[in-house]
Amino acid sequence: MYPRKFDYYAPKTLSQALQLISEKGEDAKILAGGQSLIPMMKLRLASPAFVVDLNGIKELSYIKSEGGTMKLGSMTRHADIEHSSVVASKAPIMVEAASQIADQQVRNLGTIGGSLCHADPSADWPAVVLALDAELEAKGTVERVIRSKDFFKGPFETALSQAEILTEVRFRIPPAKSGYSYTKFERKAGDFATVGVATQLEMGEDGTVSKARIALTAAGPAPFRAEEAEKLITGQRPTAELVEKAAKAASDASDPAPDLRGSAEYKKDMARVFTKRSIRSALERAGVSI
C-alpha cells in the first residue's frame, strides 16, 4: 500500500521549514509524527506533491517549566509527555490524556503539535488544551499566539494558515489547589473517543470552585468548552445536584454526529455521563468530596 508519489524534504531548522512551505504552498503537507498523515496518504485522503518532515528540527521538541508557565515544543511526542516527571507534577491532566491516546507504538511517534493541527474532532489533545486554556504559538511570516479557544474551527480545520507552523503549546501551570481529569469513553481500548471530557478546576479558600474549565471532544464538529456547565459550578460549593446539572448543560451543548461510534442520542447521553464523571473525579483530586 503506497502513498502517491511526492517529493520529500527534511529541513534541519524551523526557518528552512517555513521557507519550504511558503514556496510549495497548497501542494505541501507537513509531516510531524505521521501517525495520521501516512494512513491518509495511503488511503488517498491526502495526496500532497511535497512532504515537509519536521522530525529533524530539534528545536521543536522540548518540555519546559518556566516561571509558572509550562511550555511544550510542538514536536514533543505523546510518549515523552506521558512519561515526563515534570508534566506529571505540573500538569497531570496531560499525562492522563497522553496515556489514553491510541497505543504505545503510536504514542512513541505521534506529536502533540501534529495532533492539534490535524484537528480530528475526536482527538484527545484538543479538549485538554482547551481545559488548560493553553496558548498556541505559530510561526509563519510573522509569529502569533492563538488562544486554544480560537484555534479549532471545525472538523480537521484550524486557525492556522498553510504557511504557518505550530511551534509551541504553553499554559499557566494550575495552582496547587486544583483538580483535573481527562475522562475518555472509548468503544474499545485504543480507539478514538466516543466522547472525551477534560476538566480543570481551581478551588478557592472558601471551598467554592474559583475557576472551572470543561472541554469536550467528539461531541460536536469541533472540540468545545462547555461554558454553561463551567458557569454553573464556578463560585459555587459543589454538590451532587450541581454536578448533575453541569453535566446536563454540557450534554445540551453537545452536537455529536452519528457515526460508527454511536448514534447522536447515545453520544449525547454519554456526554452527560462522562462529564459528570470527569467533574467528580476532578473534584476528588482537588480534595473535595461531595
Binding site: 500500500m1 515534570v86 504505545q104 460508527l260
Partner: protein
C-alpha cells in the same frame, strides 16, 4: 493400542507446538514471505457498485503505467468455482454482485506499479436494482442475483432453487411441531440476529502461483486445506489433479475463512498470462473485508414449546442466512445450522427450515464452528427464558432436556453412542466452576451489575460423508520418523498432537518424530480438508493405522530375528523385544532400513507404515426430513461467564470465563488450553464488538481494525477456568474428540443469559455493543436505570479512572 488408561510418556502432557522456535524468531516462512525469481505482483480492481451490469472495461491508461505486464478481466476466465455450489466467478463476468466484487486484476513488475495501474482501470456500469437483506431477496419480484443458477455445478447434498435467490434450502423434521406447540404449556416466539463478521486472520489471503511451462501449476498459498484446494482448482482449470501442486507454508490464521478454494486459480491463470512468470497476490485488509468471503449474517425466527416441568417439546425455527454475492460454503452453513438446531437437547418435535439466500452484499463462507454458533445463539437463550417463565433454574431445565448418550437419538435420528460424551458432567462442572446460583458479590457501584450466565454446546465436524484422511509414517536410518499427514497447520497444533501419539506408541523421544512444517500436495498424505475440528480425529485415526502397519512389519522382522512367535514380540521404548526375555532386544534404528545379521545378510527394508480413515456410518441426509447421520463425533461442552454490566453506558465486561469440553481424551493439554482460551477471547470479541457495518448502498463502512474491533490483550477476562472432561470415545485416537471450534460457540449466549438473568433484559442481536445494550435497558427496564441514576446522586462514579499508567523511563527532551 488406543484407549487404555495407562501411564503415558506424552499423551495428556503439555507440549509446546514443535514449530514454536521458528515462530518466536521470526523465521517461520508464511506465504506472504515467499519470493520467487522474476516474481510479478497482482492487484485487484473491485466494484464500487452493489449490483450492476458491466458495460465496458477500459484498461488503456492503466496499461501505460511503467512496469505493467498484463491486465485480466472476467472474460479471460469463463468458468465458475465453489466447493458446494459453483456460483463464483474469479473476476466478474457479466455483472457485479456486490461492492468489492473483483472486476479486473493488474499484473506488474512491482506492487507499486500494480497499485497505481489498478487505480486507472475504468469500468462503465449500468446499475441494476440491488437487494441488501434476505427478507427482501425472498420477496416475489426481487432482483435475481444469479440468473443462471440452473447451470451451476451443485454437490449432491444441496438444493438451490433456480429462478429465486435461494442458494440452498434445508429442512429438519421430526414429529409434529405444530401440533405440539398448540398443546404446549408455554410457547416463546422470538427473533434473533447476527451480523456479518470477519475472520480477521492476521495474514490476509496470499497466493504465489507459477504456471510452469510443462503445464504443471505450483501454488504457495495461505490456506487451510491444500488437498481440497488442489482438487477444486484442477476441476475448475480442467487439469489432471496431479498437475496442480499446492505448497502449504506456515499460515497466519484461518478460522474457516481459508477453507475450500480461494484465489489460487485466479493467480495461477495470471501467471499463465504473464508468460509463465510467478505472480503474487496479497489481499489488502480492506479487500479481505469486502472482496473475500466473511461469516454470514442471519435472522432466526423461532418458536419454542415447553411443558410445565420444563420439558422442551417442540421447536420451530426458520433461519435465513445471508450468502451475499455467492454462496460457496454458506450453503453448508445453512445445512449444518438446520441439522444441529436442537443442540444438546432431546426435543421430540422439530420443524426447522434453513435457507441460504443471495443478496448484493459481501459473500460469506465457513467460520469456526459454523452452523453451531448460529443455532446456539437462539437455543440457549430460549432455555433460560423458559426457565424464568416456568420458575425453574437454568441448570434444572437443562437437566430435564439434555440428551442421554446410549439412549437418545439426535434430531437427525442418529442413535447417540454410549461413549459419545457426558453432557451432564459438563453441566455439573460448569455449575461447580461458575456457581451460577451462588452469591454474587454486590458491586460497590449501584449502576454496575455483576451477573453470571452459562450456555451449553455440542458440535461435530460438518463434512461430506465420504471425507477421508490418510497418513504415511517413514522411518529414517536412526529410527527417527517423518510423519506425512495432509492436515493443514494454522495454529491449532494438530501435527504436534499427532507426533505425540506416534512417539507414545513407539516409545520414542518426541524430537525423533516430525511432521514437516511446509508441505506440498505432491509430497504428503491426503486428507480432505482441515476444517470442522476433524484433524486430530481423522488424521489421528489414519496415523494409528500407519502405526499399526509399521508395528506389524517390525514384529514380523523381529520374530524372524529372535526366532520367536510374533505374539511374543513387543514394540516399546524405541525397540522391539521379546516378552519375558528383555535381553532379546533390537533398537528400531537397527530395523529401520533393513535388519542386518552379523554375517551381512539383511532382511526387511526401509520401514514405512500407511493408514487411512473413512467414516463408515455417515450418509447424506434425507432431503425432505434431514434425517441421517451427519457427524463423525459430537463434542459436548459449555461456557460460563461472570460479567459486569454498566447500566449507564451499556458496557459489558467479561470478568471471568469458564470453559468445559468433553473431548474424550486430552492428547496435548497445552493445545487444549490454547483452544479454550482462544475460543473464549475470540467468542467474546465477536459477541461484544464485531460487526461489519453496511450503509444503504451496500458499502461496508468499517473495513479496517480502527472501526472493526477485535479483542486486545487488555480486553481479556481476568480469569479463564478450563476443564477438559475425558469420556473416551472408542473409535477416537486414544479416545479423543475434536475441540478447536467448540470453545467459541457458547460464549455469546452465555453472556446474553447473564444479562437476562440479572436484569430480565433480552438481547436479540449480536454484537452486544454498549449502545445496543444501553438501548435495550432503556426500552425494557427503564426502572433499573432510574434506580441507578438516583443512586448516583450521592455516590461517586469514577472507578474507571483507576486505569494504570505504564511506567517506562521518563522522556528524554524534558528540562525544568
Amino acid at each position: 493400542m488406543g484407549n487404555e488408561k495407562t501411564r503415558t510418556r506424552y499423551i495428556g502432557r503439555s507440549i509446546p507446538q514443535n514449530d514454536s522456535p521458528l515462530k518466536v524468531t521470526g523465521t517461520a516462512t508464511y506465504a506472504s514471505d515467499i519470493e520467487l525469481p522474476g516474481m510479478l505482483f497482482a492487484k485487484l480492481v473491485t466494484s464500487d457498485r452493489a449490483h450492476a451490469k458491466i458495460l465496458s472495461i477500459d484498461t488503456k491508461e492503466a496499461k501505460s503505467v511503467p512496469g505493467v505486464v498484463a491486465i485480466a478481466t472476467g472474460s479471460d476466465f469463463p468458468f465458475r468455482i465453489g466447493i458446494y455450489v459453483g456460483d463464483r466467478d474469479l473476476l466478474a463476468t457479466d455483472k457485479v454482485r456486490w461492492v468489492g466484487h473483483p472486476v479486473a486484476a493488474v499484473i506488474a513488475e512491482t506492487l507499486q506499479a500494480a497499485e497505481e495501474a489498478a487505480e486507472k482501470v475504468q469500468v462503465q456500469y449500468e446499475d441494476l436494482p440491488a437487494v441488501f437483506n434476505v427478507r427482501d431477496a425472498l420477496k416475489p419480484g426481487a432482483p435475481i442475483i444469479h440468473e443462471h443458477m440452473s447451470e451451476y455445478r451443485v454437490f449432491p447434498a444441496f438444493s438451490p432453487v433456480p429462478g429465486t435467490n435461494i442458494a440452498n434450502k434445508f429442512v429438519l423434521k421430526r414429529g409434529d411441531a405444530k401440533a405440539a406447540l398448540d398443546k404446549a404449556h408455554l410457547v416463546i416466539e422470538e427473533e434473533f440476529r447476527m451480523p456479518r463478521v470477519s475472520h480477521a486472520f492476521m495474514e490476509t489471503q496470499t497466493v504465489v502461483a507459477l504456471y510452469r511451462r510443462d503445464g504443471v501449476v505450483e501454488v504457495w498459498s495461505s490456506l487451510q486445506s491444500p488437498f481440497a484446494a488442489r482438487y477444486l482448482m484442477a476441476q475448475s482449470l480442467n487439469m489432471p489433479v496431479n498437475n496442480v501442486i499446492i505448497h502449504h507454508p506456515f499460515c497466519g490464521g484461518g478460522f474457516g475463512g481459508k477453507a475450500g478454494l480461494g484465489w489460487e486459480p485466479l493467480v495461477a491463470l495470471l501467471s499463465k498470462m504473464a508468460d509463465n512468470k510467478p505472480v503474487k497476490l496479497i489481499l489488502s485488509r480492506k479487500e479481505q473485508f469486502v472482496s473475500a468471503a466473511v461469516r454470514e449474517a442471519f435472522i432466526a425466527h423461532v418458536k419454542a414449546g415447553f411443558e410445565k416441568d420444563g420439558k422442551f417439546v417442540a421447536y420451530q425455527a426458520d433461519f435465513i442466512m445471508d450468502c451475499g454475492g455467492y454462496g460457496d460454503y454458506t450453503v453448508n452453513v445453512s445445512r449444518t445450522t438446520g441439522y444441529a438446531a436442537d443442540g444438546s437437547y432431546d426435543i421430540e418435535n422439530l420443524d426447522v427450515t434453513c435457507r441460504a439466500v443471495y443478496t448484493n452484499q459481501v459473500p460469506t463462507t465457513a467460520m469456526r464452528g459454523f452452523g453451531y454458533p448460529e443455532g446456539h445463539w437462539p437455543l440457549e437463550q430460549l432455555l433460560d427464558r423458559a426457565a424464568a417463565r416456568l420458575h425453574l433454574d437454568p441448570v434444572k431445565i437443562r437437566l430435564v432436556n439434555l440428551v442421554k448418550p446410549g439412549e437418545s437419538t439426535t434430531g437427525t435420528g442418529e442413535h447417540l453412542r454410549e461413549d459419545a460424551g457426558d453432557p451432564r458432567r459438563v453441566l455439573s462442572t460448569i455449575v461447580k466452576e461458575l456457581k451460577p446460583n451462588g452469591r454474587i458479590p454486590e458491586s460497590k457501584e449501584p449502576w454496575v451489575i455483576r451477573a453470571r450466565g452459562f450456555a451449553l454446546n455440542v458440535k461435530g465436524p460438518s463434512q461430506p460423508p465420504n471425507a477421508s484422511g490418510s497418513s504415511i509414517l517413514k522411518f529414517n536410518e536412526d529410527g527417527s520418523i517423518d510423519l506425512l499427514v495432509g492436515t493443514g497447520l494454522f495454529g491449532q497444533g494438530t501435527t504436534t498432537a499427532l507426533c505425540m501419539i506416534v512417539a507414545e506408541e513407539f516409545g520414542l523421544p518426541l524430537e525423533k518424530v516430525r511432521v514437516p512444517f511446509e508441505r506440498g500436495t505432491d509430497s504428503t498424505a491426503y486428507t480432505w480438508q482441515t476444517v470442522g475440528s476433524r484433524g486430530l480425529f481423522v488424521d489421528g485415526n489414519a496415523t494409528l493405522g500407519a502405526i499399526r502397519e509399521a508395528k506389524a512389519k517390525i514384529v514380523e522382522i523381529s520374530s524372524q530375528v529372535f526366532r520367536v512367535p510374533k505374539e511374543d514380540v513387543v514394540v516399546r521404548d524405541g525397540a522391539a523385544s521379546v516378552r519375558g526375555r528383555p535381553w532379546l532386544k533390537i533398537p528400531l534404528s537397527d530395523i529401520a532400513m533393513a535388519y542386518t545379521y552379523p554375517n551381512g545378510n539383511a532382511i526387511g527394508g526401509p520401514l514405512i507404515g500407511t493408514g487411512t480413515w473413512t467414516s463408515v456410518l455417515n450418509s447424506y441426509l434425507n432431503p425432505e426430513t434431514g434425517q441421517g447421520i451427519p457427524s463423525i463425533f459430537h463434542t459436548f461442552g459449555g461456557t460460563g461467564v461472570e460479567i459486569t454490566l454498566n447500566l449507564l453506558t451499556g458496557e459489558i465486561c467479561v470478568e471471568k470465563g469458564v470453559q468445559v469440553e468433553d473431548i474424550g481424551r486430552v492428547i496435548n493439554r497445552l493445545g487444549v488450553e490454547q483452544q479454550m482460551d482462544g475460543g473464549m477471547i475470540m467468542g467474546m470479541s465477536i459477541s461484544l464488538w464485531e460487526k461489519m457495518q453496511v450503509d444503504g448502498q451496500g458499502w461496508v463502512t468499517n473495513p479496517n481494525f480502527s472501526n472493526y474491533y477485535i479483542a486486545r490483550m487488555k480486553d481479556m477476562p481476568g480469569e479463564i477456568r478450563k476443564v477438559a472432561i475425558e469420556t473416551p470415545q472408542e473409535d477416537g485416537p486414544w479416545g479423543a474428540r475434536g475441540v478447536g471450534e467448540m470453545t467459541m460457540i457458547s460464549v455469546a449466549p452465555a453472556i446474553a443469559n447473564a444479562v437476562f438473568r440479572a436484569t430480565g433484559v433480552i438481547l436479540r442481536d449480536e454484537p452486544m455493543t454498549p449502545e445496543t445494550v444501553w438501548l435495550a435497558i432503556r426500552e425494557q427496564r427503564p426502572d433499573l436505570l432510574e434506580k441507578a441514576m438516583k443512586a448516583l446522586g450521592g455516590t461517586s462514579d469514577t472507578t474507571h479512572l483507576q486505569r494504570p499508567l505504564v511506567r517506562v523511563k521518563s522522556g528524554q527532551n524534558e528540562t525544568s
